[in-house]
Homo-oligomer: 224 residues x 2
């Protein structure tokens, strides 16, 4: 457990440094612009599932772009930074990238639903290694938890309850995670599980591994 915490602390520190170095825009204008985008989608598409799917698509393409930049910055970094290529190592990568691009400090928690995963969580290094060696055999779902959210500054959802209940305003973030993971060769399902905007006490995005993509499957994007 302690090595996990140490690695999480290191990711946080690296994420902070990367965030500091990024060119900045005004947070309020960003939130207002995102709000205008969602409002425009509401006007255009009306159905909230279509809106969420469009936000997911936009987030996905931003995520692909972000992770390319992230990996380039990491490669050029003075201090060596390890970006693991097992699925169990993706939480640290995502946490660094979330901090770098959105200024979000996220915590990660694995969903423990089998013996391997429990053993790994209990600090059994061998079992953890075994679980992770399959790239997702033992641990295939985790959630990212965070409170601060640059998308929801000043946000009021429309009063139409049927839309409010189903519109995933944060879907851009879930799509973004999906794009990041796809570039790391993991085909994942990323879902908004909790949202402060909807009255929950925290924001939660769950990430479930569907399959490991072929080596080089993401190269199409890089050549674009």
């Amino acid at each position: 457990m302690s090595s996990g915490s140490a690695s999480a602390a290191k990711s946080t520190a690296i994420g902070n440094v990367l965030w500091q170095k990024q060119p900045k825009a005004n947070a309020e204008l960003f939130a207002l612009t995102y709000g205008a985008l969602v409002g425009e989608l509401l006007r255009d598409l009306e159905r909230s599932d279509a809106i969420s799917s469009e936000l997911d698509r936009m987030g996905h393409s931003m995520g692909i772009r972000s992770i390319e930049e992230f990996l380039a910055k990491i490669a050029l970094s003075d201090t060596p930074i390890h970006v693991g290529n097992a699925f169990t190592e993706t939480p640290e990568t995502i946490r660094m990238a979330l901090r770098m691009f959105f200024g979000i400090n996220a915590d990660c928690r694995w969903k423990e639903n089998n013996a391997n995963a429990s053993a790994a969580a209990a600090g059994d290094g061998a079992a953890a290694a075994e679980a992770s060696s399959g790239g997702g055999g033992g641990r295939s779902t985790y959630s990212l938890f965070f409170t601060e959210n640059p998308l929801t500054l000043f946000v009021e959802l429309p009063e139409d309850v049927s839309v409010e209940e189903t519109l995933e305003y944060n879907q851009l973030l879930a799509g973004w995670c999906r794009g990041v993971l796809e570039m790391l060769q993991f085909d994942c399902t990323c879902k908004i599980q909790q949202s402060i905007l909807q009255g929950d006490t925290i924001n939660e995005i769950s990430i479930t591994l569907n399959q490991i993509l072929q080596e080089g499957a993401g190269e199409d994007y890089q050549e674009e």
Copy 2:
């Protein structure tokens, strides 16, 4: 001329401090989100004049919000900052606010089309005061010039030439200036005159005073 430069330099310095203090978002994500918004408007509205008018409307409401925050920050500032209430003093206010909200460093140049304005430009303090005392009698049009533009990072306009030629991608900024000036009691026409995205060497927004609004005309917004 020297007092004008000194005041411009002071505005720049104040703008820098205000910009530093503002909460930040990632510049690339802001630009991508704005791009997604314009893309969505393109898909929804098709006609470029309708899109520009929608961007202008969004910018206007952001401008109203921005200047309220700007005035509040100024009021709470440790060092007294003079925000003049003559139209001839608005360039400095706009320059500070552009820097604070968009990180843009703009230069201002008055359009000299009468004797008063020429005298003012030549550094004749009395004439300048006289010209400005009418709030716009002598000088009623100026332009803001800038090169860096957070909206146009990574932008490619669509290949459809008819749209490309007329779509004012930067219209949000012109609308924003209009909103800012309206809150300062000046009804103005704000136009994109030059745009680097369209092949010009600089971005230019012209600002022409139409009329001075009634004292308190902007209070509706403040009470919202």
